[in-house]
Amino acid sequence: MIVVLLILHGLLAVGLLGAITHQALSVLPLAAAKGPRTFIGRFRGVNAPAYATPIVVLFVVTAIGGALLYPQYRIDVRPALEDMQNAAANGVFEIKEHLIAIGLGLLPAYWQLWQQPPENGATSARRAVTLLLAFFVWWGFIVGHVLNNIRGLLP
């Protein structure tokens, strides 16, 4: 059961990572490419506001999946990392916990900023909040995968 949940959590995280990366790149103030549209241009040329609600849903559902998996980590994985004297691995995971929690709290304002037409100050706030969320998701994704495979990665 825990393996099924772990795989489901990973798959949801892939969807979230893709969605937030599309949206984050779309809000970056990059110069428009001239000539034929580039891969980056097409990647960021999405209907960014349409991504906001799916990102909120995916973030919450993925976080709930992580919360359900957390007891197994706390009982089995964390003590093993401590036995290996791998404090850094526990550290990056603890930071992941904090960033995901802070990200959950950020979601209401993020969603609201994407629902309204940008006003004074709202465009930069929308961009910054989106980039913060993208950072949280990338951190969580990379740390989750590294820790999941840590026994194979470390000698």
Partner: protein
Amino acid sequence: MKGPALKIFSMLFGVFYIAAFYFDLALFRYYPEARQFHWARTDGIGVVILWYGWIVTAALASAAVAVAVPRSVAERLSPRWVWIVTALVVVVTLIYERRYFV
């Protein structure tokens, strides 16, 4: 909670979360080996998870402030503060968690 209040909630959530973490203000504790929730510290039943409690503490505290702040005040608050305060919370968190890497 409506429009402007959501801004207040999101701006304060990170602050309350990190305060709950630093000052050990988890609303409740979960002991996964015993599969039990407790309001207070309970020794002898294995490792404890405080993360759920920190999140609920932060959510309740920031929701309470968001509801209490008058709408006119909340409307005047620039949305920039949401990301500025959150970014500061992240920086403080990363500085504090350096303890794992030294």
